[in-house]
């Protein structure tokens, strides 16, 4: 017996899984560059959210057309991948359609895979048309130029190719079964690929075997390549949407966290017993930096958000600032955060595990003050995101840095804050006049 294909298969499998694992490790390391945040509360609610939002796709269908098509592709991919289990067993042990003895159940499975594959192809063609011919606004915004656009299309091409290979493989297999070729057990139902049979008409058994084998190999190699492509792509959401929806915000959307470091200082300032001139203790930790100017100032859930973002632009298309022509785009905030985080990660890789200052940061080099100050904190982006990403929290953390570390607020805001400080209102009115309305007619 010839073991070369089995060994080759094993090598390819191990290499691609190994490479993927290495990238996953990097992913974990990069996400862990973020600050710690306690998300250990409300486990049951978190599981529910994950089940509803990621597994159940409840927020996708808010936009019915895209949502429906996405569910087809999602269900299609998840279910068709059951087939991968069989492919891997066959590949490793030289069997062919090892699950065939399941009989009717097997036929049902293969038949449904084929129907799903056809639906996936149709959905993807529509997706492609929406992106490239109809050119739906949110897909052609400025942050979508270059790689993001290519990435989106590559994913679609990948998926069509994989589905086509699957159907071609089945068609050739079916033909071989009918010709009674050795090794090709009679199994499976081929409701879709049988339409391809005329194309294979008149081919000899040996050419058919070549077609079947080539499609089989390309299909599984394609899947492994796709797996490894994820880390470099917005398509990473197919994995990260699950943890991301689990760790998504549970508090009311309007609630912004109170910075603990500030609370401590405020307490000290308000404490009549505290000595304002006391020198800080020798071993006092370096005062914490307020807000965020770079990715390591964000917390790890925010960084997970960035890797999870699928660049769909639902957030941006609902953003009042973006809708009225401002530079702010919540999607860009997420994409910039990921790009900078990747840059920091590569820097760490290149410098044997530690970050060497590169004179760059998220603020300024990626996200400008102008974008940050355009936000109305309306939460439309947070509501719109189908996978519980919170762009607003990053915007707010960066504003905090601008104001508390750099005093770089727009002058109007400085006036407003000066008023609050001096008279307890954002306008220059005297606090003692606060009840005057009562007697005005």
């Amino acid at each position: 017996m010839n073991y070369i294909p089995n060994i080759l298969f094993l090598i390819i499998l191990v290499l691609s899984i190994g490479f993927f694992a290495a990238n996953v490790k990097k992913l974990f390391r990069n996400i862990n560059l973020g600050k710690d945040v306690d998300v250990s509360d409300n486990k049951s609610q978190r599981w529910k959210n994950m089940a509803k939002i990621a597994l159940g796709q409840t927020k996708m269908v808010v936009r019915p057309i895209a949502g429906f098509l996405h569910i087809i592709v999602y269900v299609g991919f998840v279910i068709i991948n059951i087939e991968v289990v069989e492919i891997i067993i066959d590949g490793l042990f030289g069997t062919h359609r090892v699950f065939a003895p399941l009989g009717a159940a097997y036929n049902f499975l293969i038949g449904s895979f084929e129907i799903l594959a056809a639906l996936v192809i149709i959905a993807i063609v529509i997706f492609w048309i929406r992106r490239n011919i109809v050119r739906i606004q949110r897909f052609i915004k400025s942050e979508m130029k270059g790689w993001p656009k290519t990435d989106a299309n590559l994913i679609l091409y990948f998926e069509v190719i994989l589905m086509t290979l699957f159907l071609v493989m089945n068609a050739a297999d079916n033909q071989l079964q009918q010709l009674g070729a050795d090794h090709y057990v009679k199994a499976g139902a081929f409701p879709v690929s049988s339409f391809l049979l005329p194309l294979l008409d008149g081919m000899s058994i040996s050419s058919l075997i070549i077609v079947e084998r080539v499609a089989w190999w390309l299909h599984i190699i394609g899947i492994l390549c796709f797996l490894n492509y994820l880390y470099y792509s917005k398509h990473l959401h197919i994995l990260l949407a699950f943890p991301n929806t689990y760790y998504g915000k549970l508090k009311p959307k309007g609630e912004l966290d109170n910075l603990e470091a500030v609370t401590n200082e405020v307490k000290l300032m308000m404490d009549p017993d505290a000595d304002p001139y006391a020198a800080p203790a020798e071993d006092a930790p370096e005062p914490e930096k307020f807000g965020a100017s770079d990715v390591s100032d964000l917390n790890w859930v925010q960084l997970l958000n960035a890797y999870t973002c699928t660049e769909c632009g639902r957030c941006t298309s609902e953003c009042p600032a973006n809708q009225t022509g401002k530079k702010l785009s919540p999607r860009k905030i997420m994409m910039d955060t990921r790009d900078r985080l990747e840059e920091v990660g590569k820097n760490i890789d290149a410098n044997k595990g530690s970050f060497v200052a590169d004179g760059k940061q998220l603020l300024g080099d990626y996200i400008t003050n102008e974008e940050l100050w355009a936000c109305t904190s309306c939460n439309a982006c947070v509501e719109a995101c189908p996978i519980s990403i919170d762009p607003l929290s990053i915007i707010m953390d960066m504003r905090r840095y601008l104001v508390m570390e750099e005093s770089a607020a727009p002058s109007d805001l400085n006036n407003m804050m000066g008023n609050i400080e001096n008279n307890g209102a954002p306008w220059p009115f005297n606090q003692m006049d606060r009840l005057n309305w009562k007697n005005e007619s």
């Binding site: 109170n258 910075l259 009225t324 022509g325 936000c375 309306c378 439309a380 209102a425």
Partner: protein
């Protein structure tokens, strides 16, 4: 008698050894902004008519700190918060009602972590409750059959999931409630939140309030109802910009109710 507002302060009641059921948090806009003061008074008239036991902090009230926090000034926010909490706690405040969704959000969600835990309701929720408890009756009167569209304030709607109370009240006025194409969860911001109220907008193609006003005017309303003093300002400016102020009024829900009751 109708001009005579009864507005006791916490300090007065405290001195008399009394404790009101609810603190009416007026807010900075409600205290100082000419347009918002009318909303404050309308709400007080309803409270007076319904004999609600309430008080205000008056000169002891200070900005909740919301615009400072949303500008990124956590220090100033917490200073304000701690000061306000100290005052409220010293009066033993249990329940707070406010006509400003920003104050509502801040006191309800951000004060508890700093030591101030109260039951906080928006005035539309409070009014709905008065209605349900039979302490207030409502007939549409002049609003019967009028086309009213309601603009969801971000800090009431999306931020805190209060969508129904204000709508319920509008329906109770026998008015025809017409929804904008973007409403409730998808409601478009008026452009004031996140401290935008206090600064010039960044460069763009139009102002947010104009866009929202266009959406409101698309419903051909006679009245644009709001539940936030800042939204009110933004929409009023938008309506003026579109030169529609003689056909379309921007009103707070409290004003609608006070008018319907001839207060």
């Amino acid at each position: 008698m109708s001009n005579e507002l009864k507005v006791p302060t916490m300090a007065e009641l405290f001195a008399a050894g009394k404790q009101p059921e609810v603190l009416f948090w007026v807010g900075c806009a409600g205290s100082f902004d000419d347009r918002a003061k009318k909303i404050t008074k309308a709400f007080v008239k309803i409270l007076n008519k319904a004999n609600v036991s309430f008080a205000v902090l008056g000169t002891e009230e200070s900005c909740t700190g919301d615009p400072a926090k949303r500008s990124g000034n956590e220090f100033l926010f917490q200073m304000q918060a701690v000061t306000n909490i100290e005052v409220m706690n010293s009066y033993g405040v249990k329940k707070v009602v406010t006509a400003c969704p920003h104050c509502f959000n801040t006191i309800k969600n951000e004060y508890p972590g700093l030591g101030g835990t109260y039951e906080v309701v928006h005035h539309t929720q409070f009014l709905k409750q008065l209605l349900e408890d039979g302490k207030m009756s409502l007939e549409g009167g002049s609003y019967k059959g009028k086309r009213i569209t309601y603009h969801d304030p971000c800090y009431l709607g999306r931020a805190n999931n209060v969508y129904e109370a204000p709508r319920e009240l509008i329906r109770k006025l026998d008015a025809e409630l017409v929804e904008m194409k973007n409403c409730k969860k998808k409601g478009l911001c008026c452009g004031a939140g996140g401290a935008q109220m206090f600064k010039e907008p960044e460069e763009g193609t139009m102002d947010v309030n104009i866009k929202r006003t266009e959406e409101a005017l698309d419903t051909k309303p006679e009245i644009i109802a709001a539940g936030c003093p800042f939204c009110n300002t933004m929409m009023t400016d938008g309506v003026k910009n579109k030169e529609k102020e003689s056909d379309v009024a921007v009103m707070d829900i409290a004003e609608l109710i006070a008018n319907a009751q001839d207060l």
